[in-house]
Assembly symmetry: C2
Homo-oligomer: 460 residues x 2
């Protein structure tokens, strides 16, 4: 029976509870002792991902002690499961030669992931400790942009010539040490991709059949220059578990597996989520100072928004002399527009990300959002207008409020749909658009409409 | 060579472009002809997921024609790739007996997915067309809640007794027709789970080895009553491709595979995204009326928010007589608080979803967010205060604005962190909290603080 880590789940029942208990004992140990034997004992048999989870839950000083205590037995795979900012922190606890030594056992795509985090001078140094051939290979790969097939793929890939028999392929698989794989890829004499066989179909084949007879002429190959959006779209559409990456001559140069794609999909939608909330990337593990500075940019746009709003109010100041009722109702149109705009933008951003919204249906989508805004704007604007009339016993106040809410919600529906589409067309990130841009326009429009309408209705 | 659909990608190059071209020709065909042969010709060789993508891009009337035209050759797998609201629409185009007939070829978990969408009377009727045993099985499964292991798993699972040799297992695999699988599960004589063998390790085994010798005593089993959060957490932590589902006696009753988990993970984070934007679920494919009504609830909370704000302003109306400068600056504190609160809430919601934020680090996270709010509040409150002083040449105006911004941002930081955590503790969805609740409190606090401070500073 192969020896594997026992993992926490088996030993202690429910997973999250088990992790929590482990964190508690780890914290106590780190705070009260410097004994690295005890630490290694505590971590013994745990999976790298479990250790990473534990490390993420420590204070900075505890984390330092923990990593240094584990150092001699530190498994590089732990790094892969850490959040980016913590990974940098932990990597910096090693010197370059130590780092290269622990990296050398990882698969090529994982080494690249970690090297990418280092600064150029450091990864150059780290590469010096690798065998010449490997270090040249990594340097070459590091030149490619991060979010392409080339960066996602693993280079270790098994391929078999189409004239081989199943038994020959089996023999070859048994003879070599490969990471886990899910499909058998068949190539011609120039390593050009011909087809694939799902592993569970492969084991059903008779030993003397030719690979060319049992393979599926699959069409799911990934050109090396594809971006991650195209790759995730393809994995999702065809429910792939692995797919070969080919160069421009159709030769197989690597393989992308579902676990990497899963991480990309999750990162992407989490990123959109952060952007919608006005955050560049999750700063959960960042320090107070970095977090504060990182959040300032959106808040500065809010400052500009607020100043613009104030200027609008100042411009209409003479209207304000008219009636106190107007001052009391002033913020309503802006609030209604802001929130209904965010609703439209949220749907648009998500539909753009999943490629459901595209050139073919954008006009229809815009039209629908305008209709929705008209409907909700008329309903809520009408309701609020009546309320304002009853409150201040003045039909003009009701007209001003109702009109401002209706027109601002209409604008919000249009802008909430158009902004993400335009930004996507300009190759920007649509999720970044909705928050700041949209709120600023709905605020300025909201106050402007309300006060402008007041001016006209009360003046004449 | 096995015969498979050719798929669009091979025939026409780039995937999305190919799909777009196909949609264009499909639309023309449906608008100008009723010939179902031409339609079947156009769809020939396409994957179900591709056809689903095409169907999603049609207008309602085109969609009806398309589905009815395909009817005789309609592949039930197409249904699995449609968004929930469209799936209902398409299912309703079939009568119950037709539907049962096309469903019968699907795997059990997929049939259940579709049956769940039907209303109780309809799925009862549909089950009448299945063989008695199957229909009883489905009825039993449909009783379980939707988001548990039981609903996610597939019941068709290969298991092997531990005393079998590798060659016996191979023979059995070859003899039976199974859906794709990734791991070989080994059980004792009572079907209790003992261990598993990754398929790529299994093919390396010698034929006469015992399964009990080559298996890994894996700990990654899923109790049947686990919820989807625990399941996705486990798949992510251990990078699983498939895992056995066991009943309370540790007997294997099914298997969950990575493609289902991937869909759950994506749906969950997309759902959080929608909630943050004030939408219950993506209404991209819904009609105008359903969309409008669906979005009203959050907008109604905004109405309450706006009325509360107006009441606050009315309460402080006597302050408003003092100085026009105050009226002009009134909305700023509310806007700053609202946006910084959403930032804190966004990070908290996401960290709760990935289980990074939990009882162990919530106090530290709250403390950090308070520090961040203090820092940014002091910086931006100070800056805006100075600006207001320069604008209105009155130190009191500056003090009022600066103080209101600082304190409201401080409140926003606390509320943005606490609200999601409290709602999660109460087993609610934290993503639903942030928008409406948070904005209402930061608006009311923002105006209240600004006007209250004005009252005190100008009065005395």
């Amino acid at each position: 029976m192969s020896i594997t880590p026992k993992g926490l789940y088996l030993t202690e029942g429910r997973l999250v509870q088990a992790l929590s208990n482990k964190i508690a004992s780890l914290r106590i140990l780190l705070d009260h002792s410097n004994n690295s034997d005890e630490l290694n004992q505590l971590m013994k048999g745990l999976y790298p991902s479990e250790i990473a989870y534990l490390i993420q839950h420590l204070e900075e000083e505890q984390r330092r002690k923990c990593v240094l205590g584990l150092k001699s037995e530190f498994n590089a795979e732990i790094l892969l499961f850490l959040s980016p900012s913590l990974r940098k922190e932990v990597v910096n606890l090693f010197d370059i030669s130590e780092l290269s030594q622990i990296l050398i056992n990882l698969e090529s795509d994982d080494v690249l992931n970690i090297l990418r985090d280092l600064e150029a001078i450091h990864y150059q140094k780290a590469l010096n400790y690798f065998p010449v051939e490997k270090s040249r290979f990594f340097l070459e790969r590091l030149r490619h942009p991060q979010h392409t097939a080339c960066a996602l793929m693993r280079s270790e890939v098994l391929v078999f010539p189409d004239y081989w028999k199943v038994c020959q392929a089996l023999e070859h698989i048994r003879s070599c040490h490969t990471p886990r794989f899910y499909d058998v890829f068949v190539v011609d004499h120039e390593r050009r991709f011909l087809g694939s066989i799902e592993l569970s179909a492969f084991v059903k084949c008779q030993e003397d059949e030719l690979l060319s007879e049992v393979m599926t002429r699959s069409t799911h190959v990934i050109p090396i220059d594809w971006g991650q959006d195209e790759i995730t779209f393809m994995f999702r559409l065809y429910e792939l578990i692995s797919a070969p990456v080919v160069d421009k001559d159709s030769r197989i140069v690597g393989v992308i597996t579902v676990d990497d794609v899963m991480r990309v999909i999750e990162d992407k939608v989490a990123e959109d989520f952060m952007h919608l909330g006005g955050i560049h990337a999750s700063d959960f593990y960042e320090t107070v100072s970095k977090t504060s500075v990182g959040r300032l940019n959106w808040l500065l746009i809010t400052v500009i928004d607020a100043i613009l709003t104030s200027l609008v109010i100042q411009y209409f100041e003479r209207v304000l002399h008219f009636k106190q009722g107007l001052i009391i109702l002033m913020p309503i149109a802006a609030a209604m527009g802001g929130n209904s705009g965010i609703q439209a933008a949220t749907v648009a951003i998500r539909a753009l990300a999943t490629r459901e919204l595209n050139a073919l249906n954008s006009a229809r989508f815009l039209w629908k959002e305008v209709s929705v805004s008209c409907f909700n704007g008329a309903l809520l604007g009408g309701g609020l207008g009546v309320l304002a009339f009853l409150w201040f016993k003045d039909i003009r106040v009701g007209l001003v409020l109702g009109g401002a809410v209706l027109f601002n919600m209409l604008w919000a529906g249009i802008a909430g749909t158009l902004f993400p589409m335009i930004i996507a067309r300009l190759s920007g990130d649509p999720a970044l658009s909705s928050g700041p841009l949209l709120t600023t326009t709905t605020d300025v429009f909201g106050y402007g409409l309300f006060l402008g309408l007041s001016y006209f209705i009360f003046k004449f």
